[in-house]
């Protein structure tokens, strides 16, 4: 049997002709991504989730996992009744520490504990980008014509745009202009523009995906295809740093639970990836 971990203590089994049970692989064990940040364990080799600063004395501590989840007991024990802020979100992807994201300025660090209580979105712990909070990698990531970006996030500020993740001009964002929640995953200018056309007047947690290959890019909102754009010219792809919480167009004010970035077109694996994510978060 081969076990595929769905998160939340669930797994499904596939008959493979072998009799001995195998350890349950995590999402990135099956689909390795270069950069991945999450409040849950995505890789069997990941040991650290995030580094947290507590407001009471500004001390910092690494927080790991218990099973599939963030070690919230250690987190709350460390922070106590104070506030807890994410100083570093460890990369669980194959790029390793090269693409860890961090924030050296205290007042720009996103919050994970608010007055002794976990920040949550849709019932699960989430990172709260309260006010111009950002996390960035120190190193640039290669950009190619083939990539896939998957984000679990929500946004609670109307009439504004919030970039969940950006790499240079490439960005994944949630847009609530005109009090409508719109997602767009795009390259700007003449680049491919996989626009999310769904308009939902809410700030619910959402799953945004874009998959790009050599001929175009396709965007999905909660597993529903939105648009495939094949009209853009091939842009130059300068290497740029990863930025979470802001980018060209606006600051994200809301929750982010998970960001996975592949330097490959993973559209053939989309359904399996979505199943894993939605089983854990229960988004739609």
């Amino acid at each position: 049997m081969q076990y595929f971990n769905l998160g939340g203590g669930n797994s499904i089994r596939f008959a493979t002709g072998t009799s001995a049970p195998m350890p349950a692989p995590y999402l990135l064990d099956s689909y390795p991504a270069t950069a991945a940040f999450s409040v849950r364990k995505l890789s069997s080799t990941a040991t650290l989730c995030m580094r947290v600063r507590r407001s009471s004395d500004n001390a910092e501590q690494d927080i790991g996992f218990v099973g599939d989840n963030l070690d919230t007991a250690s987190l709350l024990s460390f922070v106590g009744a104070a506030n807890g802020f994410v100083t570093k979100w460890y990369n669980q992807g194959t790029g390793g520490i090269t693409y860890d994201t961090s924030q050296t300025t205290a007042s720009n660090q996103p919050r994970i504990v608010n007055s002794g209580n976990l920040e949550t979105d849709n019932g699960k712990v989430a990172v709260n980008f309260v006010s111009a909070d950002t996390l960035s990698s120190s190193n640039s990531i290669t950009q190619t014509l083939q990539y896939s970006t998957i984000c679990v996030a929500s946004r609670y500020v109307a009439n504004s745009i919030g970039v969940v993740m950006s790499i240079g001009s490439y960005r994944n964002y949630l847009d609530r202009t005109a009090n409508k929640l719109i997602s767009r995953l795009e390259r700007v200018g003449t680049y491919w523009d996989a626009a999310m056309l769904s308009q939902v007047d809410s700030s619910l947690q959402r799953l945004n995906e874009t998959y790009s290959n050599n001929s175009g890019a396709t965007g999905y909102y909660n597993s529903v295809v939105q648009l495939t754009d094949t009209t853009g010219a091939n842009p130059p792809y300068p290497n740029e740093i990863i930025t979470i919480g802001t980018g060209l167009g606006g600051i994200h004010t809301g929750y982010i639970s998970e960001i996975i970035h592949f330097l490959s077109d993973e559209s053939a694996n989309r359904l399996a990836i979505e199943l894993n994510i939605n089983t854990y978060y229960g988004i739609y």
């Binding site: 580094r51 600063r53 500004n58 001390a59 300025t105 205290a106 007042s107 009439n159």
Partner: protein, 75 residues
Amino acid sequence: MASIKAHTFTIELEAVNAIDLINQGEGIPVSNDAVTRTYTNWQQLEDIYYILADEVTEKYLGKPTDLEIPEPPIE
């Protein structure tokens, strides 16, 4: 335009010194291996240097003033 609460200064050195005061009071950085290197940073609006105010900055810099800043464009 948007109105924000901020501590304002006319020269850069005043803003730098104000941040040093906050960092010393807060004990930042707490150690050599701490990720956090400063509590906040200053920003510039024309000929004014300002620090966004919150409960921590007000402990060291006093009551902030209202400052009008341009809103970022919405695409």
